[in-house]
C-alpha cells in the first residue's frame, strides 16, 4: 500500500524489506554524489571550454588539466569569513541558500540515469535479485515534479535578494522572479507537446517510447517544442543570454551580491546543478535519455559493455552535448535587454508553444476520427495563423495608441 505512495518502482511493491531499503539508500547516496561530482566537473568544463573559445588557457594548476579547480575553490570558500549584512533579515538570509539548493537536488531524482530500455525491458535492471530502475524516483506525476521543483526554485533567489536588505540584490531578485515565472509558462506548454505524443507523465515511460531516432520526441513533436523548451530552460536557469538576474555591469552581482563564503558557494552549486539537471531533462524528454542511438532497426551498440551500463554512457554523451551548448551560448550570445526578454517570452514563445500544442492535438483527434491528416493540418495552421495575425494587429494598435499618448513617465 505504502509502495504506491512512494513511487512506481517494482522494487517497492509488496512489503518493505531490508534489501530493497538498502538499495534505495544506496541509490539516494549515489544520486547525491553523482549530482555533486557532475556539478563540480561542469564548473571546470565550462571554465575550460569558455577559455578555449576566448583563446585563453583556463584553469590548469590544480590537478591534471586543472580538473580539481572547483574543489580548490570550494575549500577556499568554506574557509572564508561568513558575513551577514547589518540590515538583512537574518532568518531569511540564512534560509535562502538552502531553498535554492534543495530543489536543485530534488529535480535530479527523476532523471533515468541508465538501464536497459531495449527489447521492451523498459529500463528495469536486476540488483541483488530485485528488479528496479536506475533512477532514484519515478513518481506518478513524473515530469510535473520537475516543473513543480523549478517553480519553487524561485523562492531561493527571491528571498536571497529581498533579505539582503540592499538595493541591487532586490532589483536582481525582482528581475529573476519575473523572468522565471514568465518563462515557466512556455516551458510547461512545450512540455505539454511531449506529454501529448508520449501519453504518459513518467520519465521512464517517456524514455521507453523513444527507441530509435525516428521515435525521438524531437522528431515526433516536430522540432518546434524542443527549440522553445531549450530557450525557456535557458531563461529558467538564468544562464546567458538570459542572465539579467546577475548582470554584473548593472547590478554588481545580482541577488547574491551580499552573500559570501559557503552561502555563496551553495548558490553557485545550485545554479550549476540546475544546468546539469536541465540538460539531462532535455535529453530525457527529446533525445531518448539512456537509449542508444538507433536508426530504424540498426542499433549503435558499444561492444563489451553490458546494456544496462551502456545506457549511462549514452546519457552522459548526450548530456555533454547540451552542457557544451550552454557554454557555447554563454560565449557567443550577448545579453538580452529586459523588454526584449519579456517580448520574447510572452509574445513569441507562449503563443508559439500554445499554437503548436493545438496543432499536435488536432492531428491526434483527426487520426482518431479518421479524417484526412493534410486537411486537418492545413485548417489548424490557417486558424493559428489567423489567430497570430489578430495578436499582431492588437499589438500594433496598442503601440500606435501608446505613441499618440506620448511617454508614460
Amino acid at each position: 500500500m505504502s509502495a504506491v505512495i512512494f513511487a512506481i518502482d517494482p522494487l517497492l511493491e509488496g512489503d518493505v524489506l531490508w534489501t530493497p531499503l538498502l538499495i534505495v539508500l544506496v541509490k539516494v547516496l549515489l544520486v547525491f554524489v553523482v549530482g555533486l561530482v557532475a556539478t563540480m566537473l561542469m564548473v571546470w568544463f565550462e571554465r575550460k571550454v569558455i577559455a578555449g573559445m576566448q583563446n585563453r588557457v583556463g584553469p590548469n594548476k590544480a590537478g591534471p588539466w586543472g580538473i580539481l579547480q572547483t574543489l580548490a575553490d570550494g575549500i577556499k570558500l568554506f574557509f572564508k569569513e561568513d558575513l551577514i549584512p547589518e540590515r538583512s533579515d537574518r532568518f531569511m538570509f540564512r534560509l535562502a541558500p538552502y531553498l535554492a539548493l534543495v530543489p536543485a537536488f530534488l529535480a535530479f531524482a527523476i532523471i533515468p540515469l541508465g538501464g536497459d530500455f531495449r527489447d521492451g525491458k523498459g529500463g528495469l535492471v536486476t540488483l541483488f535479485g530485485h528488479q528496479t530502475r536506475l533512477q532514484l524516483a519515478d513518481p506518478p506525476v513524473g515530469v510535473l515534479f520537475a516543473l513543480a521543483i523549478s517553480s519553487i526554485a524561485v523562492y531561493g533567489i527571491m528571498l536571497a535578494g529581498w533579505s539582503s536588505g540592499s538595493k541591487y540584490p532586490l532589483l536582481g531578485a525582482v528581475r529573476a522572479s519575473a523572468q522565471m515565472v514568465s518563462y515557466e509558462a512556455a516551458l510547461g506548454l512545450s512540455l505539454g507537446a511531449v506529454l501529448l505524443v508520449s501519453g504518459t507523465l513518467s520519465t521512464a515511460g517517456i524514455v521507453n517510447l523513444q527507441s530509435s531516432i525516428g521515435n525521438w520526441n524531437i522528431v515526433a513533436t516536430g522540432f518546434v517544442p524542443f527549440v522553445i523548451f531549450l530557450i525557456a530552460a535557458t531563461a529558467e536557469l538564468n544562464r546567458p543570454p538570459f542572465d539579467l538576474v546577475e548582470a554584473e555591469q548593472e547590478l554588481v552581482g545580482g541577488f547574491n551580491t551580499e552573500y559570501s563564503s559557503i552561502r555563496f558557494a551553495l548558490f553557485f552549486l545550485a545554479e550549476f546543478m540546475n544546468t546539469v539537471t536541465m540538460s539531462a531533462l532535455i535529453v530525457t524528454l527529446f533525445f531518448g535519455g539512456p537509449q542508444p542511438i538507433a536508426i530504424g532497426n540498426t542499433t549503435l551498440d558499444i561492444p563489451f559493455i553490458p546494456n544496462a551500463i551502456e545506457g549511462t554512457v549514452w546519457l552522459l554523451l548526450k548530456v555533454l552535448v547540451f552542457l557544451y551548448v550552454y557554454v557555447w551560448f554563454r560565449a557567443t550570445l550577448p545579453r538580452f535587454r529586459y523588454d526584449q526578454l519579456m517580448d520574447l517570452g510572452w509574445k513569441i514563445l507562449i503563443p508559439g508553444s500554445l499554437g503548436w500544442f493545438m496543432l499536435l492535438a488536432a492531428q491526434r483527434v483527426g487520426r482518431d476520427a479518421g479524417w484526412d491528416q493534410m486537411v486537418v493540418t492545413l485548417v489548424t495552421a490557417l486558424v493559428l495563423i489567423a489567430g497570430y495575425g489578430l495578436l499582431l494587429a492588437a499589438q500594433h494598435v496598442s503601440r500606435v495608441n501608446r505613441e499618440k499618448d506620448g511617454a508614460s513617465f
Binding site: A148, S151, S177, L201
Partner: protein, 179 residues
C-alpha cells in the same frame, strides 16, 4: 505509516497557518503560507491524489505566493507592521465570530456527509505499475465529460478576470490635461 504522514503534514499545515496570522512581517507570513500549501500537497499525495499535489505546488506555491511576494517587495510594505493600531474598528470580534461560524459550518458538513463517504482514497486508488497515469486519466475524464460545462465556464470566468485587470490597469487617455 499513514498516521505518521498525517501527523507531520497536519503539523506543517497548522504551524504555517498560525505563522500567516501571527507573523508581523508580511514576507515571513507569505513564507508560512508556503509551508501550509506544502503540507496540503503532502496530504494529497498520501491520499493518492498525486496530480492534485503537483498542481497544488506548481500553481499555489510556485505562482500565487510568488506573486504575493512580488507585490510585497514592489510596494515596499515589507516592514514589520504595527499591530497595536486597528486599521478597521471592531475587526477582532468580527473575525472571531466569522471564524467560529466557518468552523461550525465545516464540522457540520463533515458530520452530516460522513455516512455517505467511503474509505478515504478509495475512488482514485488505481495507480499501478502498469498504468501510473490512472489518476490523471480519471480526473481528465471527469472534468472533460461530466463537468465539461462547469470547466469551460470557469475558464471563461478566468478570461474575464484577465481582461478586466488589463482594462483597469490601462492608463486613461490624458487628453486635455496639458500633458
Amino acid at each position: 505509516m499513514e498516521l505518521f504522514v498525517f501527523v507531520v503534514a497536519a503539523a506543517m499545515v497548522l504551524i504555517g497557518a498560525l505563522g500567516v496570522v501571527t507573523r508581523s512581517n508580511p514576507v515571513h507570513a507569505a513564507m508560512s503560507l508556503v509551508l501550509t500549501l506544502f503540507g496540503i500537497a503532502v496530504m494529497f499525495v498520501s491520499h493518492n491524489a498525486h496530480f492534485l499535489a503537483a498542481v497544488q505546488v506548481i500553481v499555489y506555491a510556485g505562482a500565487i505566493v510568488v506573486l504575493f511576494l512580488f507585490v510585497i517587495m514592489l510596494l515596499g510594505v515589507d516592514k514589520a507592521e504595527d499591530l497595536s493600531v486597528e486599521p478597521i474598528t471592531n475587526q477582532r470580534p468580527l473575525a472571531v465570530i466569522i471564524g467560529v461560524g466557518i468552523s461550525a459550518i465545516v464540522i457540520a458538513a463533515i458530520v452530516t456527509s460522513r455516512s455517505g463517504l467511503g474509505p478515504s482514497g478509495k475512488g482514485v486508488n488505481e495507480t499501478t505499475l502498469e498504468s501510473p497515469d490512472a489518476n490523471i486519466r480519471q480526473l481528465a475524464r471527469v472534468i472533460f465529460s461530466d463537468n465539461v460545462f462547469a470547466f469551460e465556464l470557469t475558464s471563461v470566468l478566468l478570461l474575464v478576470a484577465v481582461i478586466g485587470t488589463v482594462v483597469m490597469a490601462r492608463k486613461t487617455k490624458s487628453v486635455g490635461t496639458g500633458k
